[in-house]
Symmetry: D2
């Protein structure tokens, strides 16, 4: 299979379940919503070393938010136990503290809810108020009043949807990966949690040489080691590759994001091969076959 | 005292010691360095609820970096013990994974060092190389090779330098605070770790009503509670205020940042009062008297 | 009439016909399309002193463009005669010269067309090619090949849709205007051609004092002259106002943009009054009554 | 000669005299100054088809501007006659109309001055005021008062300093050119007037086939024509090239910018050759030999 002359490997991406909260952050302007959301979703690339995976899912126009102001929706992904703690801390430290923000549940129809009781911060001066049909708490603060919902729906979603963008050199692969990541930003329901949506250094579980390491470089995907390791997965002529990793609300949107991203990558000159990462199907319950989704 | 007709209260900011690492992140373009640095310094507004305080300190042109590429310097601030762990995790998860980044020590002359041994990630394929006079490790990864120093100087700096920007209404106070935060971005050696560099909700230690809360809204600084609480610190005619909180490498740069920020805030129409926060001098060893620094 | 407690004056905006071309600019990434479009639509705020009015109308995802790459649509508005010249010059100087761009007709079903024969630049080395069903010319250039359509539909649209955002002080009015302008950016078919989409200095035709001036400050809308001129249109308590000026493909989208912008402005604290500008109905054939459109 | 292994051709860039005005635009925040400046310097890539060449020269912190607010300096370059007209129109339409802007002369010590009498716009309500030692006019407008100087120093500077960044493929050449353009943005006294600072399509004077064309593609620099034209200047292995064109206040800063840009380009993997453009020395009085400036 080929797109724009770029071969698509006949393989699949393997992905895993994760719990996800979707939070709507609004502000006086879209810029201020983005600033709060960027801080709240920082240090959240990979559940391996970060306390959660998080990112901006979509930008919302005023007619898409409960209070009629511009906003963004963020996804926070973690185990169920960690998820509540991370939503509490990230909203309390990065959004309640940010200028003009309000916060709303982005999954109001989810069956399960977590309670994020920021209103105790009001020390008794807080009160309840309905905004856009949502039951909110109002907390007096320095800038005036913070307004926010405190119950957030959570659902079981999908983490680790992925594909590889391989290039004849590093800049071609990078621009291909950027085109993919930018295109995925238009797909609702998903995030790419790494910086710029792109992973430059993939890992394998454990380490052959350093037994104390939980993860180490995946030498089979390192172009500079192509001649040095057995079973290199780097095709001839490929000098750099990047991975796009996608978390999303369900299988459908993750597949849609993979399709959108791969098609975008294949418009960039110098992109020469597309593949995807899996562990032989032994670990993750979700399989995204490239042939099928494209 | 007045600046541009804005009264400056005769008070002082109280600040505290913190350990600080300064990391230089370079990349193929400045944009990519900023993307990695933004992720690496996210979820890091306040040491109370975040694992550290962090931010982008300055933008570096190619002739200011060891490898001749554009970059940024970030500061990571925490207790000595937490600092090492945070530098390791944030570099490993947010910078090593980001496209085209390299990492260098931003405090090479500091007496104390922390070791951040990312090279074990190379699983034996890593090797050493000198770049711009710095002893680096080269780790084969998917995009090619990651290059970075692994010893980082740390110093005892200053956290919590601050001032309040008070306005006749919320938008005036906000724009005053933004002008202040933007101006401080030009001062070397400091960061403002909150979203957009601005704090919208100040806190007091503990809570009067909810004994389980470690911190709660500082009602004396809430404009909507001005008539409801005793000893409100909100002057008549002030309807919103923001705090700018500054961490820096030493007292001198923090004082310089406060001066620069206050002067900038006072150029914005509708800014009506400047003050600063302290705990009566009982807690922090550093005092920044507004009269003196201005 | 009131929105969020902000009075809406019972008046109307008066607008005029203009010829409009809609050009789709694509590039390897959205950033590069925006850079080319920003240059191509610069120096184009008002037909009074600029050669045309122009702006970015919308951002296009890869599945919305003929070549499957990210893009933007721009509108260029002028008299019929000037329009062709401006489209030629702006595409030739600002888009053909920009990295990785391609250009497509954004009004393919328009009855009238203008021809923009950039292919002569190819000096005989150019050739024709179909891209996404569009008949394009390919021109060899330094970066490789430029691809573009050369027939562009033009239609008679509407220029000068407008409203005023008035605030209790300058920063409130400015943030209200920015919220309005940002919200209008989500409406398809319209542009706001001034910097940031906002006009800070409205004008009247001619001048009372300087007979050689074709236009001068509209003193009736100057807050600092409220007590000095007869018939000031500045309500009591208003210390600053901004005008949002909208050009669009037809009456419907201009009215939609006005509605969207006014609603957004009224969410900003300190915005106190909304009005619109007209010349008594004597000049422009289009009238947008605020009551009706809201 | 080589930099980072990239061969630098032993040639020179040929450049021309131009008249230049340098205008300082300040605003309540740096963002607003940039928005006004971007509009004012748009449609200004090349004097061939645009009314002038213009761009943002540098960003100014509050302590570098007459009114203590953040700002930018722009350069406007044209023939002496066109320069005055362009400064008048661009300030009147794109800066006076923009929120919160003020304007100051950026070449106060220049011997020659042009007068830009915007104050007639005040229709008699204008008055004079000193700001930061500058004699300004204050004009009542909708947002309050516009403040600006009206005498601007102009000097004879240099237009058309240039170099070529050539790559093994398009994305490598593009990223090399972007690294160059970004680095040049740190050099004071110069602009790169094309979108993103980069030229994708170089031209020769006239046309061989179409006699009515004043300029056409420079086929000797087209990689796709390398085998089809005699005397191609495209080295073997080069599949794309970009030109960086620099205008500046004097020979020294243009040479400095060329050096800074070339060094930056040579840090990007896949950049394979650096050259410069000239007309055999017959046209321009300025010669920048690459060997000498590097």
């Amino acid at each position: 299979m080929e797109i724009n002359g770029v071969p698509i490997e006949d393989t699949y991406a393997e992905a895993f379940p994760t719990w996800i909260a979707r939070i709507i952050i609004t502000a006086v302007t879209g810029d201020w919503a983005v600033r709060a959301a960027t801080e709240a979703t920082g240090f959240a690339t990979s559940a391996i070393g970060c306390p959660c995976e998080a990112g901006i899912e979509s930008t919302l126009s005023p007619d898409e938010t409960p209070d009629g102001r511009p906003g963004v929706a963020i996804l926070i992904c973690a185990s169920k136990k960690k998820l509540k703690e991370q939503v509490v801390e990230r909203l309390a430290e990065c959004v309640l503290t940010a200028p003009t923000t309000a916060v709303f549940d982005g999954l109001p129809s989810a069956g399960e809810k977590i309670a994020v009781k920021l209103h105790f911060f009001g020390d008794g001066y807080e009160y309840q108020k309905e905004v856009g049909g949502r039951k909110c708490w109002v907390i007096p603060i320095m800038e005036g009043e913070y307004i926010g919902e405190e119950e957030f729906g959570i659902i079981k979603g999908v983490a680790g949807g992925n594909f590889f963008v391989m290039g004849e050199n590093q800049m071609a692969a990078l621009m291909g990966a950027q085109a993919a990541s930018d295109a995925i930003a238009n797909v609702c329901g998903v995030i790419t949690s790494f910086p710029g949506g792109i992973v430059a250094s993939g890992s394998k579980v454990g380490s052959n040489k350093y037994k104390f390491m939980p993860a180490s470089t995946n030498e089979k995907y390192c172009p500079t080691l192509r001649e040095k390791v057995a079973d290199s997965k780097v095709p001839a002529g490929i000098r750099a590759l990047y991975e796009i990793v996608i978390d999303g609300l369900d299988e459908k949107v993750v597949g849609e994001a993979m399709k959108t991203g791969i098609k975008a990558a294949c418009t960039v000159p110098g992109v020469k091969f597309i593949s995807a990462g899996n562990f032989g199907g032994s670990l993750g319950p979700y399989k995204f076959e490239l042939k099928k989704i494209l």
